[in-house]
């Protein structure tokens, strides 16, 4: 049941990412729901599932991208694993904790992504972090929390529940 639900959420995220989110770009900043999904999945399912999901989703993105193969896979594997490790026994239903976790995870993802893609050019890395990564992380976090809140209200049960 949990697996079906998570597969459904991934399907929705993929459709939104490819067919809708480019329409709500602000100054070229587009939310990245797939990182948000990896954070959600790793947080709920633990480090093994988080790493595997991050790797698979990242690799799928890499095959569709112009950048080097493996870059998204590496960034998302690290994020999936780190979130699962750091988020163990954390109060997941608290909105503040959610905001902090999602924002930090997105920024960590982009630190890896831009550090690898800027290949040692520190100026370029800083520029990309300030102009793309941080605004994109904020935008994605706000959108994710909104969608999460909407889905939880609709289903009348928490998707990101505290551990029992």
């Amino acid at each position: 049941m949990k697996g079906l639900r998570d597969a459904f959420i991934l399907g929705v995220a993929l459709v939104l990412q490819s067919a809708f989110l480019y329409r709500i770009e602000i100054w070229g900043i587009r939310p990245d729901l797939l990182v948000a999904y990896v954070v959600y999945f790793g947080w709920m399912r633990g480090p093994i599932a988080g790493s595997l999901a991050g790797f698979a989703i990242g690799l799928m993105q890499d095959l569709d991208a112009s950048g080097p193969l493996g870059l998204n896979a590496l960034a998302k594997t690290v994020v999936g694993f780190a979130v699962a490790k750091a988020g163990f026994r954390v109060h997941r239903s608290n909105p503040g904790v959610r905001f902090f976790f999602f924002l930090l995870a997105m920024i960590a993802h982009d630190v890896i992504y831009f550090a690898a893609s800027s290949t040692g050019d520190f100026g370029l890395f800083l520029k990309q972090m300030f102009l793309v990564a941080i605004p994109s992380a904020l935008y994605t976090t706000i959108l994710t929390l909104f969608l999460l809140g909407f889905a939880e209200r609709f289903s009348r049960r928490p998707l990101l529940a505290d551990e029992s």
Binding site: Q17, E25, G28, D64, S66, L74, T77, A116
Partner: protein, 295 residues
């Protein structure tokens, strides 16, 4: 030690293996990455593509069938008339010794999906094989070239834009007619470059780049972009030319898919029965002699 680590620290093992595979893929050279991408797309993603294909073919099959039956009947009637006219046209053209034109059709399509990555290397459009959009057809806008169709299904197609590593275009400098290949390069600064241009060739900043038509996929004369920077490679043999694309890929909503029309380029042998053919040729030569003022 290793056995203990694998048994007790499964999470770390999975993490390290996934990171190692990712890093190995990143460290491959360009051709290695292309081979790895091809392998992954044709093994791991093949079942996904198959399922998507079934879904695409399966959805609305009944309604498609009804619509297509009616369309087939109507088109059969039109085809009968068109076949006769085309045969007559070809006959007359060969008599007048006119070269065949190369007509084309532009099929308009809407962008319904974009690349999952932030760099935007691919697009999904709402027209497919049923509408005449097939793989390896050029896709453009009034501003210039967008890319090529990578694969198409019945009602949709995936377009690789110029910003994708697998989309290379035979190009030419409009002013000096220098040939090269335009390709997206993911280096320290990801840019669209004009490659394989010797350091002796005449290329200047501001020159416009267009398709050369070599290679057969892209028709010639479509604008690609403008030269913004020229440098020299380390070995000094080739120029490093950066091109700014004519198309703004971020704001694309409507596209045109180029489709060459499929008129026959040679006269079919069964068009002229033996006797008719001889008499037509005789008439044609008599006409040409008369036109030249000879008895």
């Amino acid at each position: 030690m290793l056995r203990y680590f694998l048994a007790r620290r499964t999470d770390w093992t999975v993490f390290v293996v996934a990171c190692t595979i990712s890093l190995s893929l990143m460290l491959l050279d360009r051709s290695g990455q292309a081979r790895a991408a091809w392998f992954l797309q044709h093994t791991l993603l093949a079942p996904v593509s198959t399922v998507v294909g079934w879904w695409d073919r399966g959805v609305g099959l009944y309604w498609d069938n009804e619509r297509l039956r009616a369309r087939l009947t109507r088109m059969q009637i039109e085809l009968d008339g068109a076949t006769a006219e085309r045969a007559e046209n070809t006959r007359l053209r060969s008599l007048l010794k006119l070269a065949e034109r190369h007509p084309y059709e532009l099929i308009s399509a809407r962008v319904v999906g974009r690349s999952l990555d932030r760099l935007g290397g691919s697009l999904t459009i709402d027209k497919g094989e049923e509408d005449g959009v097939f793989a390896n057809r050029a896709v453009l806008t009034p501003d210039g070239l967008v890319g090529r169709v990578e694969r198409s299904t019945a009602h949709g197609a995936r377009v690789l834009t110029l910003l994708h590593r697998d989309c290379a275009v035979a190009a030419r400098v409009e002013r000096s007619r220098v040939d090269g290949v335009v390709r997206w390069e993911f280096g320290e600064q990801p840019t669209l470059n004009l490659l394989y241009v010797s350091s002796q060739e005449d290329v200047k900043v501001g020159d416009r780049i267009q398709t050369s038509g070599l290679g057969g996929i892209f028709p010639s004369g479509i604008r690609i972009g403008t030269v913004t920077r020229i440098g020299l490679e380390e070995n000094g043999l080739m120029k490093e030319i950066t091109v700014r694309p004519a198309v703004n890929f971020r704001t694309l909503e409507e596209l045109l898919a180029y489709s060459p029309a499929t008129l026959p380029t040679t006269v079919p042998s069964d068009l002229f029965p033996a006797e008719t053919s001889d008499s037509l040729r005789a008439n044609a030569s008599a006409d040409s002699l008369a036109a030249a003022g000879q008895p």
